[in-house]
């Protein structure tokens, strides 16, 4: 798959996973790695970039097992960004499906 395209899709997935609940980095990575054949490491630079962009914020939370975990939370600007990205994606998929389904 085209790298730029893949990056955009992975980004969208991270947003979707954070939409309804905060998650820690490792959780995001394993969830995404379950569905795509990617090197797990590549999610971390993505998280860092979105954090730098102000779409996410982080906080530490104690856990029953192991050290405190770094949780990611969507900011308002993250939510706004996700909405426009998702709309674009839906429109894109609808267009592709229409052509693949032979409706055109």
């Amino acid at each position: 798959m085209n790298t730029q395209f893949k990056k955009g899709v992975l980004e969208l997935c991270v947003f979707a996973l954070l939409e309804h609940k905060d998650r820690y980095g490792y959780e995001l990575v394993t969830e995404i790695a379950k569905s795509f054949d990617i090197s797990e490491g590549s999610i971390y630079p993505l998280l860092r970039r979105l954090l730098d962009e102000g779409y996410f914020e982080t906080y530490l939370k104690e856990s029953s097992e192991g050290p405190p975990r770094k949780y990611y939370r969507l900011t308002q600007s993250g939510r706004d960004f996700y909405k426009t990205q998702k709309d674009e994606w839906d429109e894109f998929v609808a267009g592709v499906n229409k052509i693949l389904g032979g409706e055109v």
Partner: protein, 183 residues
């Protein structure tokens, strides 16, 4: 490769980063290893799944660079961004490149004019002070007042034109981003 070897290689690859960012990145990846350990997955396998540490360091570098270009403060990077927009076709040329050249020229002219105003004030002040013994008191007072006023006005004009330029830079970046998104 075990955890320590992996983190060491990653750390080497991150040498272009400020120490605190480097520490944060290493901590994130170490946490990843620790979580995997809890699940009973050996370090070797975790390292394999994470991917080549050198490549990972590179990915961090690339994603930070995109950010830097966006928040850049120097006009040089903007210039190169504008020049690269020339390659984005007619919208790029008429929407960004042409207006940019015109506004850059106007800005430079404005800046030179502002510096000239301030400089004329300084010259007038020096002239008045040198000739202060030959001038009637009231005249030297007026001349000093005028020269100080000119210096002040010049400085204000420099600040104003720099602010104006910043505003324009922001607009250019927005337009560039818009074009990039559409392209």
């Amino acid at each position: 490769m075990n955890k320590l070897e992996y983190l060491k290689k990653l750390n080497e690859g991150l040498n272009g980063f400020p120490p605190e960012v480097r520490k944060e990145i290493i901590a994130d990846i170490r946490e990843h290893f620790e979580m995997r350990e809890i699940e009973g997955i050996p370090e070797k396998e975790t390292a394999l799944r994470l991917g080549d540490p050198k490549k990972l360091a590179k990915q961090f570098e690339v994603s930070t660079k995109i950010d830097k270009a966006k928040h850049t403060k120097s006009g040089k990077d903007i210039t190169s961004a504008v020049i690269s927009a020339a390659g984005t076709g007619l919208i790029g040329f008429f929407g960004v490149v042409l207006p940019s050249i015109i506004i850059y020229t106007l800005f430079v002219a404005l800046l030179i004019a502002s510096v000239c105003v301030a400089a004329s004030g300084v010259v007038l002040l020096v002239f008045t002070l040198i000739n202060v013994s030959h001038l009637v008191n009231i005249w030297s007072a007026v001349l000093i007042l005028v020269s100080v006023g000119l210096v002040g006005l010049g400085i204000l004009m420099v600040i104003g034109s720099v602010e104006l330029f910043k505003l324009f830079k922001k607009g250019t970046l927005k337009t560039l981003e818009y074009i990039k998104k559409r392209g």
